[in-house]
Subunit: 152 residues, 3 copies
């Protein structure tokens, strides 16, 4: 079976420190085998990656933001589980794209995150997904992604 | 116990072929008994059903779009399970309505999907639900609905 | 172990009657130990609490709306379980804030709900969370919150 850390190395991804919640909640909550990860907002060089798709953020930049959040989500999973090889399935992703009323490429932006999960977790990374445009995101971030994973 | 296929026949509903994902994800992901269905976007005659409630799409048209997505979701469940009578519960629905800032009838539009689930699955179709207005949906679709079902 | 009803008393909270669904769905659906609560919309004195953050509703008012919905969600859980001490975990919260395209304090507004869950349920109230701005909410309500809880 594929080793998640080998995959991360091949992709030249170094996991950042796991995010801390901005307020009165936790970044991950597990009951039984199901782990709910809080919505993670886009960051760049340790600061909020703010802006709006269709206006100040291009689809290409959005893809990088999505990839960056996916890495942060994996870092939170690593902090939660200690061993990412215990992930049985990335089962559900919800991707919120800070969008103008005319921007319709939320799926293209989100693909970068989806593809990273599959590159890192293989078959275990294949997830159901919803992606859509929202009016705003806390602190003006350009994207927010939440995730449900199942642990062994 | 009610037979789901008899109900579909009574309602004169023929299930379409299950949708294929537009990108790097799957339309349904199951772990244990829980099946997560991806957000399905509205289609009409095999094309994206685009537009915005409160602007180019009326509440009445929105109800037809919601019904159409509900049928697509049932088609995906049929493809996933082989036998819809194995559905123990349609437990949760999230309905995203592509809305202007002034449109406030997301619940009326979504009712058409909710009522169809109950008509088809009976008591097993009674679900918790959130419905709300979003800024945009991939490819400009007028609605997107995701669903969680439990299988026997 | 902390008694939830003692906590409610200390906080001087009287649970209202549980909400009835506005249409073809249920306010709570349980399968196994998992309880999905429908999105509850903000109410004030028995009427819809309408308005938009960034426009007609201030962040401070939004906090009161969030607190009010959290109390309604607890009332629904009480009606569902008969005994709130059976709540093993408030595991996931999704908070939808009716926002202008410029309002970026969805997290501050939502904190009031998150803090109430922790005040009432203690460690069992610590949840994963997503909060974001939406274009509209049914009937023009200023906020909508849904919740997943686990029962013993």
């Amino acid at each position: 079976m594929l080793n998640v850390y080998d995959q991360l190395k091949k992709l030249n991804i170094k996991l950042p420190a796991a995010s801390a919640p901005a307020s009165a909640y936790v970044m991950s909550a597990q009951v039984g085998k199901t782990i709910f990860l809080s919505g993670h907002i886009a960051q760049k060089n340790g600061k909020i990656w703010s802006g709006k798709l269709g206006d100040t953020i291009s689809t290409e930049e959005g893809r990088w933001a999505a990839r960056s959040i996916a890495i942060d989500l994996i870092a939170t999973l690593h902090a939660h589980l200690d061993d990412l090889n215990r992930v049985q399935r990335i089962v559900k992703v919800m991707s919120l794209v800070n969008s103008t009323p005319d921007f319709v490429e939320q799926h293209l932006v989100t693909n970068e995150a989806s593809e990273l999960f599959i590159a890192v977790f293989g078959e275990r990374g294949k997830h159901a997904r919803s992606a859509f445009g929202v009016t705003q995101i806390p602190l003006g971030a350009c994207m927010e992604i939440e995730l449900i994973a199942i642990a062994e």
